[in-house]
Amino acid sequence: MKLNRNNIKDNIMENKKMTMALFSGSIDKLTGAGVVLSGAAADDMDVDVYVLLMGARAFIKVNENKIDGLSEYPELKDEFLKSLETLNVSTWIEFFEMAKELTNVKIHICSLAGKMWGGEKMEDFIDLADDICGIGEYITSAQEADVHLFI
């Protein structure tokens, strides 16, 4: 097959992959993760998100709408939420949903993290979750990724 410059460029684009360890379950960090995820999705990257300890709490169905604490400067929560509203910023769940619509984003829940918050089966988690996995899969994914983040 004859390769021209554009073909090579296409191939490079298709191979880009991001792996994200989402350890945090607070609304500030989840929102930040959603923005980063959106950027990767706009670039058509393949993304694997591994939801670890505190993050898994936000993906449990019964906790929906209960996720509102800040990891940093908790005393600024009202200001943070008000700014999001004023700027018409999407919720973290909306960012995740839009990213999934746009590109190949898979959300993997760490099995231990899920159990910590009472989630053992897929039906315990919100629809964003794709599967439950072990930590070995995360390490493998991180080794293969072009971009690797821990949030």
């Binding site: 959106s38 670039d43 058509d44 960012f95």
Partner: protein, 78 residues
């Protein structure tokens, strides 16, 4: 010569990353060779849109500043 515009995407007032998301989604639904005009006010778009074009292989035909802090981009789908 004035470039023929097939579609306009208005992202005025939207904050990063929404303009990028809407751009990527809109371009996915367009045919090769079609031209999109995009309008935005987020300062991030000024560097993000040219960068996105380079990475995605689409062509940035025009980029200009309009009144009221509006950035205008004209892109051709690859």
């Amino acid at each position: 010569m004035v470039t023929k515009i097939d579609k306009t995407l208005d992202c005025k007032g939207l904050s990063c990353p929404m303009p990028m998301m809407k751009l990527a989604k809109t371009m996915k639904g367009m045919n090769s060779g079609e031209v999109l005009e995009m309008l935005g006010t987020d300062p991030g778009t000024k560097s993000d849109i040219p960068g996105w074009c380079e990475k995605s292989g689409n062509t940035l035909l025009e980029q200009n500043d309009l009144e009221g802090g509006v950035n205008r981009f004209v892109l051709k789908k690859k």
